[in-house]
Amino acid sequence: MPDAKLPLTLMLFLPFASSAATALMPAGARNLVAWLAGLTALAVFGLGLWAAPEIYAGTVLRAQYAWLPEYGLNFSIRLDGFAWAFAMIVSGIGALVVLYARYYMSPDDSAPRFFAFLLGFMGAMLGVVISGNLIQLVFFWELTSLFSFLLIAYWHHKDAARDGARMALTVTAAGGLSLFAGMLIIGHIVGSYELDVVLSSGRTIVDHAMYPAALALVAFGALTKSAQFPFHFWLPRAMTAPTPVSAYLHSATMVKAGVFLLARMWPVMAASDYWFWVFTPVGAATLLIGAFLAMFQQDLKGLLAYSTISHLGLIVLLLGLGSPLAAVAAIFHMINHATFKASLFMAAGIIDHEAGTRDIRQLGGLYRAMPITATLAMAAAAAMAGVPLLNGFLSKEMFFAETIESHVDSAFDHTLPYLATLAGMFSVAYSLRLIDQVFFGPEATDLPRKPHDPAIWMLAPAALLALMCLLVGVLPTWTISGFLSAAVFGVLGALTPEYSLAVWHGLTPALLMSVVALGGGTLTYLGLKDYLSGAVEGPPLLRRLSGKRLFERAIAMLSWRWARVLEELLGTNRLQSQLRALVVIMVLAGCWPLLAGAGFSPAAALASVGVWLGNTWLSPRWLTSSAPMVGMFDPALLLVWAVGVACAVGAAWQAKYHRLVALILMGGSGLATSITFVWYSAPDLALTQLLVEIVTVVLILLGLRWMPRRDELIPDDQLTSARLRRLRDLFIAIAAGCGVAALAFAVLTSEQTATIGDEMIRRAHPEGGGHNVVNVILVDFRGFDTLGEITVLGAVAITVFALLRRFRPARDSFAAPDQKRFQTEYDSTRYAPGKDPINAHYMLVQGVIIRLLFPVICAMAAFLFMRGHDLPGGGFIGGLTFAIAFILQYIAGGARWVEDRLVVLPVRWIGAGILLAAATGLGALLFGRPFLTTAFRYVELPLFGKTPMASALSFDLGVFALVFGATVLMLIAIAHQSIRVYRTMEKASVREKAAARSRGDV
């Protein structure tokens, strides 16, 4: 075998290279691009001729490049007889089409664009036929769809061209993706995507359990591409393409890709009844319906399109039969159909070009005006009808002979010969109609142009093809047999049957069928002639069966209705519904492990929940365990928890319309938590929790004043739906809450291995010098974390301050609250105007008490801070307590009163706190210890007695200062709203007055 790498590579890449080169040429270079395109096609053809001797000898030429090695995928080119035959058709007809197109396209059309697309398509099509692996085949397959789209839409200013192009692309690209899936499955079954491996896999694919899936996917791809019923509708729509495109893509090449693939996979996939039952009925239906519809087309190209559909149906039918002889007939018909149909399309294009119309009713008597064209078209049409001595006759005879044979014994199989004859009749009828109504009959008088034969170079391609029809028809053994046997051998290999290409086989049943078809077809045409010349568009039956309408309806269904329903069901722009969806999904996700564990049966899942809960709650460990567990059953604690739970539920209940109540109830549940901590001997935690509760409740309380009002009233007609909605939300909340609680409980009661807690307790005093483990952890063991945390706290406080500094309350919260207004009104009837008794007195008693408490709380804060190292307390708690002292003053006296009397500089406290903490840490470095190492000892202080004096205390002081500063800063930020609101109100009223004035002026 000669080194085929370079020629094969050139064969595939020349068209793409020329395509790119062509695209870059100026729009005016019509002849140049045409020459380039034509020479490219001829070069590919020449390379094919070069390979011919090898191919005729039965060798398979290969070229491989590493492409995706990790998938065992090479970029491989594989040229066997079948691929070679197709490559010759693609390049040969390609060259003729280029020549034809040069004269067909008008100077206004952009020639570079056209030829670039055409060459691109040629390359893609060659890629499909000579690909050496399945994925690469799909790759080029989709590429042909893409170029076909571009070519059909070449005249994109026409509506019909755009719709046709889009429809063709949608159908064929969808088919291609399906084919892709099929190829993945085949590759999985065989274990390789290489065509050589796949084709030598014998019955592996057919016997595999996934064969039906693979078959269905491959079939969908092939049938859409080859325009088989019910996916045939895109092909007639694609006739809006320029005629050279139709001649090339829609007769000889692209639509052949589907049947090419079926033939390619035939040896490894056809040996199954599934194969027969998929392709034979589809082929038969397409054959009949296509031929029937073709009779009633008024558009010349429409007629040819339906005829193409019908002939492709014939080929699919033959391939579906599953016998080697039928496959031979199929391959032969592919070749023949390409020749005569391309010739006919060219003739149709010439007529359109010269006469200005393609409507068969308008045309007539053209034989006199364009005799050469007419003769060529007649020869080709006769071949299409299956008239003896033309190539169409030979393959049709083989087809008829095959239908008589029994394949899969069934009623359908027995009716096939009759269906075939009927389709043959239709085929004769439309061919006859084409010849008679276009070239004979009364001469047309109202044509847009005066018809005459075109330039010789436009005729030549059609003539050459028609001549081939004749030569093959008369002398098949001399002309086509070598070519055909190479192609057949490429598909069937050792299975290749004996077949004869003689014109005369004697008086066979097939000949009888041909005679019946010819006679019946003529009679059919004569009977229908008047009906067809009328104004009726389309066939009498099946008019309503419009694939296009079905397609459009399906697309509309898919694109608007379903999409809209889906969006209504699932899409929502409302945060509330989104949150609800999220929680519901989480509850369901929580159910999933239970369901999955129980084999997805709800009853079993419930049972497993029961068992699980039973195990956790009633496990022996639980009953026999010691101290901490016993407390759980203490009625007093349960009562506290009942109160806490009631508070929490109440808070949720009131959250929407009574924020104050909700807030206070929230504080109540926080208190229950604090008590729980005390109960379980965690006084430190309890203290912290308590203080945090107090501070947060107070801060939120202060902020509550500036929240926008809510309208409490729900209109009566929405009341029921609102209640239902809340009821649903209640159930969701209960489900989610119970689920979370159950899980938390499960974790808390699960077996714990040694935790870090024991370690901390053991080391707290010896290493940290403190008995308060929490405090030691905070300021010593994890001092670095604490340093980070207080920094964050400081930053947060400053951020809150910065945000609130710019905050302006909502308009509707300007006015004094209802209660205050009511009191003021009442007072104004009793006291002299100008006096504001409320502001002066309403906090009198509390104010006095609070002021008295100030030093007490401060002392308390100092006390909590100092004892922190050994007993509950510490910097954090002390700082919060200190802050509470100030918060109380603000509440009692108001911001102005406090700030007139006290200088609070919270930002400095924050800064000092961080600096102090950091400095303490750095201090350790002075003693040659790592950052934040602590030293401790007890000292005898005059007033306090024996006091723990760890260096951590100074660190803790930093924490104290910072916590205090941060809390007070936030407090000030909120408290100052009440001062600012008056300013805002004043400004607003000034603006309103100004606005009123300007209105008055006008």
Binding site: F180, Q578, A581, L743
Partner: protein
């Protein structure tokens, strides 16, 4: 942990440190120099992202562990980090001109992007649940803010708020799941969990896994945790949407792969069910819900949901080949997404941004180059060869079929058929519809992003090995 344990880890942690330190430095520069420093901060941020990318690429091969196992540097992480950095850099470049035109330019934006990317890097390299959570939150918090970056636009602020509220809830779920896992295994490190969870684990671990997966699915915007995506994509300023659609997705997918493959290899069958379901649902919703959209950003939101579904097909396989598919899918996805958003950012008429698909009408006549590249990207998103999108799908579907998930793969291909339909609609609008008033010319940075993205998308098939070799090595480090 002593200093000795920290400092050897520093070279491994250098890119993250550079980004975090850079963010702080740039923040100070911005704060003191004011608005006139914006251009400088933008440029420096871009530079930092590129340098960090180079540093990551230069890190040693193989798998190295730092910070007591909390931080893992391996081929997988490096691949995903470089992707995230590319995504962030591309999206940042798109913001320059757009923000200037919207009068939104501010030094805070690049700083927030930097912080978010730092979070992503930590997340991608996370070796335990704590590091995962820290990274995740750093990433998310910065994103919440930049979603609401156009403060004067209600849609933008609404987007930020919505994302924040839902994101907080999902973070809560993630934490809850993490604590359950810790509660039942007694460890937070992925390696420790992997050792503890084998055979038939306690159902508490499965609960934890479900919640953890839910939190991660939210960050990936996979169905059924996708509901925020369309609103946020539409509401956020377009460059922010571009950022959202690229870098964070990479990080979320990366950590999902790392958690599931790294921490739960013993119960692959369990999480496979979750991923298969999520993948099914995402592909279906992404395909069907996108059809009815008129706004191109909303359409891209659904499209990204669908693409996450496709990427998860590879993870569902649970094999090395599957992870390899995920890596390549994300790489190609980022390339395509940046290109598409370069086009969407450039959709302005008379200086005003427009977002309706119908605004693209007749683009082929006004800006032919942009229209052709946009169309190519659409074809690529649809998975039509020879464009990169086809290969992305090939890798994940091939892995799924190898793992006997045929139904999932076939279903995925069918949904991509539906997806092809709406991508082609955009092509049709650009090429065939009656032109409206011309769009403004494309800004330079967007042109650059579009050009690079197109080169990857179109040129990938010529030499797929360039990317694939790296991905093969990356996928190996996880197994």
């Amino acid at each position: 942990m002593t200093a000795a344990a920290i400092f050897p880890a520093l070279p491994l942690f250098l890119p993250e440190l550079l980004l975090a330190g850079g963010a702080l430095a740039l923040l100070l520069i911005g704060a003191f120099a004011g608005p006139r420093s914006t251009a400088f901060v933008n440029g420096m941020t871009l530079l930092l992202l590129i340098v960090a990318g180079a540093l990551v690429a230069m890190q040693p091969e193989g798998r190295t562990i730092a910070f007591n196992g909390a931080f893992v540097v391996d081929g997988f992480g490096r691949f995903m980090k470089v992707l995230a950095l590319i995504g962030a850099a591309g999206a940042l470049m798109l913001s320059f001109d757009d923000f200037r035109q919207r009068r939104l330019s501010a030094f805070e934006y690049p700083v927030l992007v930097l912080l978010s990317v730092t979070g992503m890097m930590v997340m991608i390299s996370a070796g335990d649940l704590i590091a995962l959570y820290i990274g995740l939150e750093l990433q998310s918090l910065a994103i919440y803010v930049i979603c609401a970056f156009d403060r004067d636009s209600t849609r933008s602020t609404e987007a930020g708020l919505k994302y924040f509220v839902l994101g907080a809830l999902s973070s809560g779920m993630l934490l809850y799941g993490a604590s359950l896992i810790y509660g039942f295994t007694g460890t937070v490190s992925f390696a420790g969990i992997a050792a503890a969870v084998t055979g038939a684990p306690h159902s508490g671990v499965i609960f934890g896994l479900a919640f953890l997966a839910a939190g991660l699915a939210f960050k990936m915007s996979a169905v059924p945790f996708h509901m925020w995506t369309p609103d946020v994509y539409e509401g956020a300023p377009t460059p922010v949407t571009a950022f959202l659609a690229s870098a964070p997705k990479v990080a979320a997918v990366a950590i999902t792969v790392r958690v599931l493959v790294g921490a739960f290899p013993g119960i692959t069958g369990q999480w496979q069910q979750i991923i298969v379901f999520v993948s099914f649902a995402s592909m279906a919703l992404g395909a069907f819900a996108a059809i009815g959209q008129h706004n191109i950003k909303r359409l891209m939101a659904y499209s990204s949901i669908g693409h996450m579904g496709f990427a998860l097909v590879g993870l569902a396989a649970g094999t090395e080949q599957g992870v390899y598919g995920v890596l390549l899918y994300m790489a190609i996805y980022v390339a395509m997404t940046l290109g598409v958003f370069a086009c969407i950012v450039s959709m302005r008429r008379n200086g005003q941004p427009v977002e309706a698909i119908s605004d693209l009408a007749g683009l082929s006549k006004q800006h032919p180059a942009m229209a052709y590249l946009f169309a190519l990207l659409m074809f690529s998103l649809a998975g039509i060869p020879p464009l990169a999108g086809f290969f992305a799908k090939f890798y994940v579907f091939a892995a799924a079929i190898q793992a006997k998930l045929t139904l999932l793969a076939v279903f995925g291909i069918l949904t991509s058929v539906v997806g092809a339909f709406y991508y082609l609609r955009i092509v049709k609008v650009m090429f065939f519809d009656e032109p409206k008033e011309a769009l403004d010319p494309m800004p330079g940075a967007a042109k650059l992003v579009l050009a690079l993205s197109s080169i990857v998308t179109v040129g990938y098939f010529v030499a797929p090995a360039l990317l694939n070799v790296v991905a093969v090595a990356a996928a190996k480090t996880l197994f």
